[in-house]
């Protein structure tokens, strides 16, 4: 009887995993900027879910729990990485993407090269904010403080940059 119960639980757990895994991994990646770290975090999220499964009722609650858990564990990871002085090491070493670099150009895709081109055409503030967020990996609050502007302005400018890219590059998407 217990075996049957276990099998039912595993079947439901499997369904939840396949429904949420990719979404949570993408969400964790946006915060961590590291694929392998995102994998570790989401695996932990699902192990915790297995422990808590009996306490969660309904799809809505499970979904909420998973997103919140991913968010909290990712923040903990970033905090701990910062303590160890490792986080953003790669970002700090990132080269200026707008500097002409033959090696980069060979590796870059056609779309990637065209994005670089469109970046040059963005209005100065929009371009600067996009660079700081995407290229340097800085948090909105950090950029707001550096540029003495509001976080809302940053949200608007990033949205604007994506809109410009989408319009100008529609033939390549």
């Amino acid at each position: 009887m217990q075996d049957k119960y276990y099998k039912n639980q595993m079947a439901e757990y499997c369904r939840l995993f396949h429904a949420y895994y990719a979404k949570l991994h993408r969400y964790a990646f946006t915060m961590l900027k590291e694929n392998s770290a995102a994998e570790d975090i989401v695996q932990t999220v699902f192990l915790k879910l297995w422990e808590k499964k009996g306490q969660l009722l309904g799809e809505e609650k499970v979904g909420s729990y998973l997103y919140k858990s991913t968010y909290n564990l990712s923040l903990n990871y970033i905090r701990d990485s910062k303590t160890r002085g490792k986080h953003k090491q790669d970002a700090a070493q990132a080269i200026d993407p707008l500097v002409d670099n033959t090696h980069d150009k060979i590796l870059a895709t056609d779309l990637s090269l065209r994005i670089r081109g469109v970046m040059e055409e963005l209005p100065p503030q929009c371009r600067l904010i996009f660079l700081k967020s995407r290229v340097e990996g800085k948090k909105y609050a950090e950029i707001a403080s550096e540029l003495n502007i509001s976080v809302k302005t940053i949200e608007v400018q990033i949205g604007k940059a994506l809109k410009v890219f989408r319009e100008k590059l529609k033939d390549y998407l």
């Binding site: 995993f17 809505e60 949200e155 940059a161």
Partner: protein
């Protein structure tokens, strides 16, 4: 927390999400919105592609979901702790069966290395160079190149457990109420506060203790390794062997940057240099193998060490990238 159907999804919010700024509510809402209509998902995918292809950090790579599921399932099935909290069982038979099951569970828990029940949420990777890091309990670890340390979720809060692949040098902060456990292959290495090196290779796990006491354990078998000694677990026959007063401090020179040569042959110096500085050393003349040297280095550059060795032994060297050639003119 719920996903909020009133949250307006547009490129501004998608940008916020891609930049890693979305709250859990916003992220949940975006994903629900994506599932509602193909055009929603298309807008998201276009924005995500533009974001990913723009110059910047690591590019998003969709994980192998099936592989990840199999890994997760394996961990859970090893634990096999079904949730019975929401079902009520009554009757003495069930109670007796549970007691028997618990007895077995406790027995197997005590007999097995507890790797399956440990969740790891962080890791440290050393790729081409040794990496030094401080853990949350102030213990310090130096990882040899091509090694990895996985760190227990909520490390230093619920315990101090790590899993080592490769080689690591540990200086463990003493916490008498919280043992520090390293899982290496199928064995446990348990300490309270000490300095030691662990090397986990294909055939054996070697623990070299510089100070303090280390316990190596697998199921009911264990040995205690004290300062100046080494303990080796041979994987082929599942056996521990204690080598008293056999500590080779040069074996973890990569971590300490200290080298000790007392009538040491150049053949052994070669090994120590390779291990410490991550270079390749070639002795061009066979006669060089048996030359012996007496000296000690503490945190010296490779160039300095090479100059001293060549001057002491009256030999020459040349360096090409990461390869050092020792030779003697006239031989």
């Amino acid at each position: 927390m719920r996903h909020d159907s009133d949250i307006q999804i547009d490129l501004q919010l998608i940008g916020k999400y891609l930049a890693g700024e979305a709250s859990p509510e916003e992220a949940f809402s975006i994903d629900v919105w994506r599932g509602k209509a193909p055009e929603n998902n298309e807008l998201f995918e276009v924005a995500a592609r533009l974001w990913d292809e723009a110059p910047g950090g690591e590019i998003y790579r969709r994980p192998h979901q099936i592989d990840e599921w199999l890994k997760l399932k394996e961990i859970i099935e090893k634990e096999r702790k079904p949730f019975i909290g929401r079902r009520l069982y009554t009757g003495w038979k069930v109670a007796a069966a549970l007691i028997v099951l618990m007895g077995f569970a406790i027995f197997f828990y005590l007999m097995q290395p507890h790797t399956a029940s440990v969740m790891y949420s962080e890791r440290i990777d050393a790729k081409t160079m040794a990496v030094k890091d401080t853990l949350r309990d102030s213990s310090v670890v130096v990882l040899f190149p091509q090694s990895r340390l996985r760190i227990q979720d909520r490390f230093a809060q619920t315990g101090r457990k790590v899993r080592l692949e490769g080689q690591g040098y540990f200086s463990v902060k003493r916490m008498s109420d919280s043992p520090f456990t390293i899982y290496a292959d199928s064995i446990e290495i348990i300490v309270l506060g000490t300095v030691f090196n662990v090397k986990n290779d294909v055939k054996k796990v070697t623990v070299s203790v510089e100070s303090g006491i280390v316990k190596m354990k697998k199921n009911a078998k264990s040995i205690v390794v004290t300062a100046g000694s080494s303990g080796v677990f041979y994987k082929s026959n599942d056996r521990f062997v204690l080598y008293r007063d056999s500590l080779d401090r040069n074996s973890y020179g990569y971590a300490t940057r200290s080298l000790y040569f007392y009538s040491t042959s150049l053949a052994h110096v070669k090994e120590a240099l390779e291990n410490t500085y991550g270079v390749r050393v070639i002795l061009e003349n066979k006669a060089l193998d048996s030359l012996r040297i007496n000296t000690q280095f503490n945190d010296r550059s490779l160039d300095y060490v090479l100059k001293v060795i060549s001057a002491s032994l009256d030999i020459q060297y040349r360096r090409k990238d990461d390869t050092i050639y020792f030779f003697k003119n006239g031989l």
